[in-house]
Each structure stands twice: as C-alpha cells, then as structure tokens.
Amino acid sequence: GGGEGAPATAPAVTRVAFITNGVADFWTVAEAGAKAGAAEAGVEVLVLMPGRGMEEQKSMVEDCLTRQVKGIAISPIDPPNQQALLAEAAAACPLITHDSDAPDSERLAYVGMDNYEAGWMAGELAREALPEGGSAAIFIGRLEQDNARRRRQGVIDAFLGRSPDATRFDDPDAQPASEDGRYTLVGTYTDQFDFARGKANVEDALNRYPDLGVAVGLFGYNPPLILEALKGADALGRVQVVGFDEDKATLEGVRSGTIVGTVVQDPYAYGRESVRILAGLHAGQSLATLGVPEGGVLSIPARKITASTVEAFQAELDRNLGR
C-alpha cells in the first residue's frame, strides 16, 4: 500500500494514485508534494514506486484500477509500448502523466518538463565551465528510458553548440565533437544504479582521459559519486562538475564551488500539481479552470542552480519537505 493512510478503501474518501517509474530520492520528494497536494485538495493519494521495472509498474496500475482509484498520475517507463495499459487506465478513470509524457495516449494532461530542455541547460553550464573548450564525460544510470536519452541529448547538443533538435540521438559509444573541434564528448557511462559501479566509471574515465574538462552527472546520485571519485583522484577543481537534481551532497558541492551548477526539476511540484489536477477533474472541473493550457502540457520548467541561487533554493526545498 501507499504506506500511511486509512484502512483499505473506506468508500467516503476519494483516492487517487501517483505512480513513479522507479525508486529514488527524486521520487520521495515528489511523494511529499503529492501528499501535500492531497491534503490541500481533501483527497487521499496512493504513492507507488515500482522497484522492478515495467512488469511491476503494470501490476501496480492494475491493482490501482482494482481499487477503483478516482484518478491516476503515472510516469510511464516505456510509453510507446504501454499504450494498452495506459488506454485501459484512461478508460477506467482520469489519467495524467508526469515526469515523462505519453503524447499518443488518452492522457488528459502532462505535468513536468521537457528533459531535452533540462539537459540543454546542463549542457550550457558545462560549456560555460570550459570557456577555452575541452572534453566532457556523461555519467548516467541508464539509457533505456526516453527521458534519460532526451536529457543526455540536450547536454550533448548544447555542449557542442549544435542547434536544438530533440529528435537527434548520438550512439552511446559515439564521441561527437563540435564543428570547430573545441568541444568533444569522450563518452557516456551507465551504471545501472550500482553506486560502486557509478564511482568506478568516473575513476576509469579520469584515467582514460587525464585532461577531462567537465564531468556531467545526469541522475540524481551521479554528482555525489563524481565528487567522491574526484576527491580520491584529488582532481577536485581541476575537473569541473555539472550536476542534476538536488541531492544534499550536490547542493553542498554547489555551495562550496566544487560543482559549477546543477539543474533541478521540481519533483515536489510534479506530485502536488498532479494530485491537484486529478482531484479537480474528479470534482468535475475542466482542465482550463485547473490552469492546464491547450494540449494539456502543464510545464514545470527546470532551473539552473548555481552558487548565487543555491541558498534560496535550499530554503525552498526545506520548506517543501517540512524540514
């Protein structure tokens, strides 16, 4: 079940579901947002995090339908191949997506941002960190998910100074360079969420490319691992770091200057807005009155956090998490 909550489906309360695409700190922040949104809207939210990929996400959706939830917000792991599942859900109750969209589905709205754009911001940070040009390495958990691929592509395109094109895809093993040859991507390293492996990737990349300019960590836990590796290789400061998301160690790094900047999404808002919309739809309000623009995309833009803005962001974060 969703952890805390009233005994099973007391008919009085309206219950909506918030389903993630995995288990991560990012999602525990979103969970906090969802719960806050539920409290405000006077509904109950069931937050489910599939630990074992699609098979579990599918059974979670099924079980939510079983429980006749009054709305589902989901971050589909593999949208093009989950059409049937999404259709089934959409038929049973209002369905919206968050974090990663499924435009071709029956979903009424999408709460989130464009990962390509977010990646682009990280790419810009990386490029700014190397005014003289240089090499970058990308460290990421996985490349299967569409949002991960778009995020990585955004980084590459911005870093290499290309024109934006979200449909591009550089092969994982490719080493593209900018026209003027000043900026190069030396590699993309995946770790499948094995932290030890994630750190080892950084260490090996450093040995492989001793003059590495900037290390970009694209999943929330990557930047801290990069810092650990740099510390071990006493390359802190020599190699620039660009982060993603708001891990405590990442923000600490931004504050202390070991990280030039991090791009934060707003998972808290994902959770909160998703629940607000679902509750509203159930109450019969229209998307427009709920503030969702045409096309149903409620954009929660990502933000660059640098030394100048980190304190304010930290404060906001603590407020949201009630710390």
Binding site: P7, D78, Q83
Partner: protein
C-alpha cells in the same frame, strides 16, 4: 513429494488469502483475482521448470536471464527486424530449449557444477540481450495484439472469463504431473536425483536424464519469458526478469521440492507460486503494509513457512534417524 508439506503451504496460502480479503474488500473482486491468477500462472510455469532441475539435485540460476533474452528478442525480431510470427516464436522458444540442454551437457559431460554453469548463464544471457539491442528497451508498439492475447486474453469457461495464461499453465502442469508420476523418465529423474551412481549402475542413463531436465527448465523459462513480454508489452534488457529465478526456486522450495534432489511435485509448486503473487498483491491492496518492505514480507513468509514445516515434521515423526551428511 511430501504431501505434508503441500498441506502446510496450502493452509498458509488460505490464511494469507483470508487475511487479505478481510483487510481489503476489493481483493476478492473478479478483476483482481483475474490479475493475481494471471501473474501466478506466469511464475508457476517457471517454478515447474526449475522443479525438474531441482529434482536432479541441481539448480538453475539462469532462468531470469533466459527470460530477459527471450523477452527482448521477441519484440526486437518482430518489430525491428520484421520477422514473421511463427519463425520468431520458433526461434525464441528453441533458444530456451537449446540453452537448457547446453547447461545439462556442461554439467554432465564436463562435470561442472550446476550453480557455476547457470551462474555463468545468468551473466552471459543478460549481457547478450543487452548487447543484442544496445540496451534499448524493445516493445510491440501496440501491434501484435492477437499475439499478446496469449498473455492478456481470456477464454469463457462455464461463464467465467479465464485468463489464457492460466490455461497454458494448466496444460504445462498436467503434462509435468504425468511425466513425473507416470513415465519412466519421471522415475529415472527421481532415482538420479537421490543417488546418481546407484541409478547409473542400475542402467539408468543418468546423463541423458539430467540433460533433459535442464532442457525442460530452459524450455519453460523461454515460454515464461515469451508470456511475460507479451503480457507487459515491452522489455528492458537491464532488468527484465532479473531475480525471477529466485522467485521460481523459492516457490518450488515452498511447495515442498527438496533442494537435496529426488523429490518433485507439481501441486505444491503451484501453491507456492500463487502464495508469492498473493503476497505481492496484498502488499499493494492493504494500506497498512508499506510497499517497499515487500521483499521483507516475502522473505519472512518463506522462512516462516519452511521453519514451521520442519518443526511440524519433527514433532510428527520423532524418529532418531540421523540424516546422512551431505546427502
């Protein structure tokens, strides 16, 4: 097959079902039962397969990776490579059988240990699957509904809509039961599992028996992998089917199949597989249980189950017969 064990595990299942039904009124709803049945059916197929291997005194850790390989290859061949359905099915199912037989041959001819051989399989096939599709997840893109019917569809049986996988499972289970109890092979299998040398000296072709057992397990793993991907719609090579071998083995053990070899029974295995799925379902339906301790709950239930069983067995039969070591 100790019927005592089967009885025990069945009682456990009943208890869990009643408890869940009490805690969540939707549990017994038709749609939910249908879901649970379908999932149990998929895992049940795997468990029956591994039961054959365990009966030889062996183990198969490669099941999850075979599932991954088949689950990834099927949509890849159909969608990306545009192969025809029959050819694809023949290939992926064939792959399962061949890999299983290969394990058996390495174990019997080279005298390698099952744990080692299938551990390598676990690593190899997942790596192969990832390499095959370059870590990209593969799916049916909503096409091939007629094929997915095999995993998602229903057939009306006496008014009820019975999930197709259940029918597949029933077929597999009946076949397995007959093989184990009525055929020469079944007898040879149990004899080999209990005392390979004595069986060999009695003229039992023990090597062939063992190879075949692994072949069966591979075949059912392949079938399982196919049904899983048809059910889910797509597969990510990195984690598709990972740890499923442990679920399958656990179900078999819960169902009274001894890892010491020489014992196997279908009913208990099915009950065991169902129990695990009911637990997972209950954890989501019942608010009181935070879903992230699912593993802990399942672990506790298995441990409790086997311990209780052992204690009961002793209480019942207080015979001093000291178990021969190592056997």
């Amino acid at each position: 097959m100790k019927w005592g064990k089967v009885l025990g595990i069945t009682l456990l299942l009943v208890a869990v079902v009643l408890a869940t039904a009490a805690a969540s009124e939707v549990f017994l709803s038709g749609r939910n039962l249908e879901n649970v049945v379908r999932r149990s059916a998929l895992f049940g197929i795997l468990s029956i397969g591994v039961a054959f291997v365990i009966a030889t005194g062996g183990i198969d850790l490669s099941i999850g990776s075979i599932i991954c390989l088949v689950g990834v290859a099927t949509p890849w061949l159909l969608v990306e490579q545009g192969w025809s359905v029959p050819v694809t099915l023949a290939l992926v199912l064939g792959t399962g059988v061949v890999l299983g037989l290969l394990h058996g041959l390495l174990i019997t001819r080279l005298g390698l240990q099952p744990f080692v051989v299938t551990l390598c399989g676990l690593l190899l096939y997942r790596g192969a699957a990832r390499g095959l599709v370059n870590d990209r997840s593969q799916g049916f893109r909503g096409e091939f509904d007629s094929l997915q019917w095999w995993a998602q569809g229903e057939l009306p049986v006496l008014g009820f809509g019975v999930p197709v996988p259940l029918l597949v499972l029933i077929a597999v289970a009946l076949l397995a039961a007959v093989v184990l109890n009525r055929t020469v092979y079944g007898r040879h299998l149990l004899a080999t599992g209990r005392n390979e040398e004595a069986a060999r000296l009695s003229g039992v072709p023990t090597e062939r028996v063992i190879v075949l057992a692994y072949g069966i397990c591979g075949a059912l793993s392949g079938l399982g992998g196919l049904l899983f991907v048809l059910d889910v719609g797509s597969a990510q090579p990195v984690d598709f089917g990972s740890f499923y071998e442990l679920y399958a083995i656990a179900a078999a053990v819960l169902g009274g199949v001894s890892l010491r070899g020489g014992e196997a029974g279908v009913v208990g295995v099915l009950v065991g597989a169902t129990l695990m799925q009911v637990l997972r379902n209950a954890i989501i339906l019942v608010d009181a249980i935070p879903s992230h301790i699912e593993f802990a709950v399942i672990g506790l239930v298995i441990l409790g189950g086997v311990s209780a069983d052992e204690l009961v067995q002793r209480a019942v039969a207080r015979r001093g017969r000291s178990r021969p070591a190592g056997s």
